[in-house]
């Protein structure tokens, strides 16, 4: 039987009087990229915190990799990784030390090798022995994601992974996420950028006022709207496209 990586049923959560989640249901298939889309304050981070055992739900059931998050949190933690909203890296340690620290906490052998491989894969080898406080925003995020990959967890949570990144760094992160999914890792990401969901996700769920109001593939969601009218509009390049084109030209020189 094919079990889902994530199964959420009737999930509810309130903070004092604020009813944040009013009965959330969704599931994520193994190996998929699932995007949870919603505006600020919609409850995306609350869902991630419950799924990663940081927060207890008021009611409803949540199963992650076959384990109930409330009953078997230790087993859940064994098989997941969280990349939170803010790069959760240790600024005073170097990039290499950060990775070795996580590898030791995951009780791996040959922690140095694990660190070297990830540094290499994320293009951080040159900066490996510099303190993270000297890193750029994009480098920090890369290290952050690299730290989440230590120990090869089956399921990765990315909470607004490109928040506050410049366009180049954003595309870098997108590339990384796609590569991960190609290697069979299940990914749940939250975002408020529609384009990000469109670029990455196999399935997209829209969270609004504490409920999932739409859930499907991009094509399915498109069908919810009346068929597109064909109009001819001259396509102007977006500022982002111009920016990236100029940057690329410079780098080629």
């Amino acid at each position: 039987m094919q079990t889902n990586a994530i199964q959420v049923n009737g999930l509810q959560k309130s903070y004092n009087k604020l009813h944040v989640l009013k009965g959330v249901d969704f599931e994520v298939e193994k190996g998929n990229i699932f995007a949870l889309l919603g505006s600020n304050g919609a409850g995306k981070t609350t869902i991630v915190k419950i799924l990663t055992t940081l927060l207890k739900q008021d009611s409803g059931t949540v199963t992650v990799n076959g384990f109930d998050v409330a009953a078997e949190p230790d087993h859940v933690r064994q098989s997941i990784s969280l990349t939170g909203q803010f790069a959760a890296v240790d600024e005073i340690l170097t990039g290499r030390e950060n990775l070795i620290m996580i590898a030791r906490l995951r009780h791996l052998d040959n922690t140095r090798q694990v660190a070297d491989d990830l540094l290499n894969r994320f293009g951080l080898t040159d900066a490996a022995d510099r303190r993270v406080s000297t890193y750029s925003g994009g480098m920090r995020r890369r290290l952050d994601i690299a730290m989440s990959l230590v120990g090869k967890p089956q399921l990765i949570f990315l909470d607004e992974p490109t928040n506050g990144l410049d366009p180049e760094a954003r595309i870098e992160v997108w590339k990384t996420v796609k590569e991960l999914a190609n290697n069979g890792t299940t990914i749940l990401l939250t975002t408020q950028y529609l384009e990000e969901a469109e670029q990455l996700a196999d399935r997209i769920a829209i969270l609004h006022e504490g409920r999932i109001i739409a859930n499907g593939t991009l094509d399915e969601l498109k069908k919810l709207f009346p068929p597109a009218k064909v109009e001819y509009v001259e396509k102007q390049p977006s500022l982002e496209e111009i920016f990236l084109a100029i940057i690329n030209k410079k780098e080629k020189k």
């Binding site: 915190k49 990663t52 055992t53 940081l54 230790d74 933690r77 064994q78 997941i80 990784s81 969280l82 939170g84 909203q85 803010f86 790069a87 959760a88 890296v89 240790d90 600024e91 005073i92 340690l93 030390e97 620290m101 996580i102 030791r104 906490l105 995951r106 009780h107 303190r131 730290m147």
Partner: protein, 255 residues
Amino acid sequence: METIKRHFFSDMSVMLGRSMRHIFRSMDTIITVTIMPIMFMLLFVYVFGGAIHAGTDNYVNYLLPGIMLMAISSGIAYTSYRLFMDMQRGIFERFHSMPIVRSTALWGHVLTSLVSNAISVVVIILVALVMGFRSSAGVLSWLAVAGILALFTLALTWIAVIAGLSATSVDGAGAFAYPIIFLPFISSAFVPTKSMPSGVRAFAENQPVTSIVDAIRALLSGQPVGNDIWIALAWCVGIMLVAYAFAMRAYKKRA
């Protein structure tokens, strides 16, 4: 569950190693917790010392216990700061979502506080020896001194944990330490309480620092310690238990 519990010591050592690196890479921390107390010791011995009649032939001997307490009091402000930063930066959440013994994320800071304060106290004692500090205390007395200092450190560390967990700004996380650093000045740490006006004297003689300082001083000089040591221990253990209870409450609220 069991497979995870077995890693307690390994997880603790990672956490300890991490915060010890934070200390040794922060010039600010080293200056505040070691250099400052040493400067105070130099200042009091070589500048004010001539005018202070403490009743001992050697003022360093008189001064050392108070300086050690000051060093520990300023050391724990950094425990609070490091804990606060962990909560802010999300690294605490990363640790908590990992298959580790969760409590080590907090206990690592407590252990670091003990180890780092022990190091600064040892450095201060070495400097004091150079300045002429001499002790007739035997091994048992030294062990008793170490025990009192460790309890004092733990008591203050749990206060620091409360501050670190419940502060809303970096400044707030460290501010609680200032009154504690100041306490030795209104105690028998620098001058005998006999010389103080009655109101101040009543406060000085009944606050924890005086009994702790007197107990340590008696132990180091081979004098009978009397009741001081029991009062000192009662203060340390009492503060530690109350602070621990509140710290755990703050911890459960946050985690």
